[in-house]
Amino acid sequence: MHVSIMRRLFAFFIILSFGTVAATAQLRVDVTRGTVDPVPIAVPEFVPTVDVETSTGMLSDIGVSISQVITSNLVSTGLFRAVDENAFIEKITAAQMQPNFASWRPLAVQGLVTGSIQVLPDGNLRVEFRLWDVVAEIQMEGVGYNTPVSNWRRIAHVISDRIYSRLTGEEGYFDTRIVYIAEQGDPLDRKKRLAIMDQDGANQQLLTDGSYLVLTPRFSPNRQEITFLSYFNNQPRVYLFNIMSNRFEVLGDFPNMTFAPRFSPDGNKVIMSLADDGNSDIYVMDLRTRRVVKLTDDPGIDTSPSYSPDGSKIVFNSDRGGSQQIYVMDADGSNVHRISFGSGRYATPVWSPRGDLVAFTKIGEQKFRIGVMRPDGTGERLLTDAYQDEGPTWSPNGRVLMFFRTTRYENGGGGKPSLWSVDLTGYNERQVPTPFDASDPAWSPPLPVTKRR
């Protein structure tokens, strides 16, 4: 009898527990954390269908170089990690067939890039590549390009962009160039020349001969055109320079100007800071009509304006509140409000091409540091922490910042500036190699690609 009661009681508990089992829904697991380790990728050499001698060397050598450039580009982002080619199990051939995924998975490869190259009857180079998701075992991308053989390096950049874009969701920035000021000579008699290079430091070129001072180059957001400031008869003069055609054009003489103008997002206007009777204000100039309109009228010093990517707002620097801070206003000069409220001073605000952040140089704690904040002033983060980092410029996709870093004079660095880049999350700080000291970088928009198949 006693046992039967206990059994009933027990049965009751069992039913109760089964009831709760039945009441629970489908198992749903929330995953809110992950790793930010670089994604492992493999880029085996691009294979020639037929190995021939070309004007720039053996085709197979070009294939090796292309894969090296792509690998180096992707690794430089800090988002990807290249798997050592000595570990490769499968040898990729020029035949158009799916790779054997099973031989790549043991290497922990997630993205595999295979490619083939051939010389077309007209003498041009045809480069084809495919991007494979090794884990899902599918092709993610496959594109072919025709180009003169000498252009192989650009093609490698274009392919890198394509892969980057497919793997990260945002536009690539490898097929771009950097304009900067190359500095040489004694600190008191510095020779400053305008220089240009590919974003990875290749193809260095000097654009001016150094006989006159060149300052603050700025890129047009949609044309291969830069403005820079120079001095003519000791008067600041602003030049327009077209990189594709190598043509200079004088935009005008602007007395009391200290920075070159910045372009508007449509490239049709430039915005600048001019001093009138010792008081700097923001002005905008229409490049077609050359008409100048004054936007701010404040006794404070208003400088370094920069447009938002939609052209509706302008971020600038002002000391109207007592110290140098960042302000935002509408494109017509109305609705001015301050966005920076941290300790220290803020200089050279630049609106991200992506629109979600404003980069700046923060001056404080005896340092110049690069930081970003949202356009409403929230989410301020410092990305670098060196002695003197300044002059941020955004990559065209708004993902990476380039700036110049000056070493401390007494530490043996000699106060020499050099170019550095940093990811907007603050990771992956890298020096950009330049043959001379370098300052004032400006990042170009993507170069035009005329033929895409």
Binding site: M1, H2, V3, I5, M6, R7, F10, I14, S17, F18, T20, V21, T24, Q26, L27, R28, V29, D30, V31, T32, R33, G34, T35, V36, D37, V39, L79, Q110, D133, V135, A136, S165, R166, L167, T168, G169, E170, R354, D356, G379, R381, G398, R399, D423, L424, T425, G426, Y427
Partner: protein
């Protein structure tokens, strides 16, 4: 006799519940006490020496302020005591002795049970076919009766529990679902933990803090994927304006495949559930 025993059981349950309420309730009632002390100032003593009559009163008040709340509670508890004979016993004992003891005990029990329940999973399955053999049905029934007795004892004696679970491992028992339920919470944690190790996502993408995607996987009993994972309500991934989201979703799908096989979920799958939903949330990757 039966009625008498039932009464005993009910009264025992009642008493136990009263004791439990007292044990669990009293420490909480005492908690607010520690705060009052700060205002005590030694200087008051000096002042009291100058004006003899007022000073001692103030000291007494402050000391009383510390002790009073304890007395109040004790008084409240003492009031019901004279009414019944049975009740006062627990009231006198609990506040000092038992407060620390009851809490730590139940936790290890549960975690041990869960851990053991997880361990059982793989061994349950191979036994399943043997249950269907007609020759052993009688033996199984016998076992199930024994097992019930044992589990009844389990409520009373905690130490024997481990041994019984070991015995139960050998059987395709009806409590698998129950233990699976107990293990579900830890299974969810375990899977979440496991996936976070497989999920790699390029950080800093625009709008990542608001992205989330659900990947559904179907499992075989051995924990491998029985068919390719699918997105749930993910919309059109080829929409050019959702390039970031496509990359996000694909990274989630890769994570699920990289984490294969899901052996820890085999018992869950064995319990009749066909699939698991993983909800990936990108807030963590907002940068900074």
């Amino acid at each position: 006799m039966v009625g008498g025993k039932l009464g005993w059981i009910l009264s025992a349950l009642l008493h136990i519940s009263v004791v439990v309420v007292a044990l669990m309730g009293l420490p909480y009632l005492q908690r607010p006490l520690p705060t009052p002390p700060p205002p005590i100032a030694i200087e008051f003593v000096q002042i009291s020496e100058k004006t003899q009559q007022q000073a001692p009163k103030e000291e007494v008040k402050q000391e009383a302020a510390e002790e009073e709340p304890q007395r109040n509670i004790a008084a409240v508890e003492n009031v019901p005591a004279p009414v019944e004979n049975a009740v006062p016993l627990p009231d006198k004992t609990p506040p000092q002795e038992v407060a620390p003891a009851p809490k730590p005990e139940p936790k290890p029990e549960i975690s041990e049970a869960r851990a053991l329940a997880q361990n059982i999973q793989p061994r349950v399955k191979p036994r399943a076919p043997s249950r269907l053999k007609s020759q052993r049905i009688a033996a199984l029934i016998d076992r199930s009766i024994k097992e019930e007795k044992e589990t009844v004892d389990k409520i009373d004696e905690q130490q024997e529990e481990k041994e019984k679970i070991e015995e139960e491992k050998e059987q395709p028992d009806r409590f698998a679902g129950l233990r699976g339920k107990l293990a579900t919470a830890s299974l969810r944690d375990a899977l979440s933990q496991k996936l976070s190790g497989c999920w790699t996502f390029p950080r800093g993408a625009k709008g990542i803090e608001k992205m989330q995607v659900t990947v559904r996987i179907w499992l075989r009993p051995d924990g491998t994927l029985s068919r390719p994972p699918e997105f749930v309500d993910a919309g059109n991934l080829n929409d050019p304006s959702r390039a970031f989201f496509r990359v996000f979703a694909e990274s989630a799908r890769r994570a699920v495949r990289l984490c294969e096989p899901f052996t820890e979920a085999s018992q869950y799958i064995g319990a009749g559930q066909k699939y698991i939903d993983f909800n990936f949330n990108g807030a963590e990757f907002a940068g900074g």
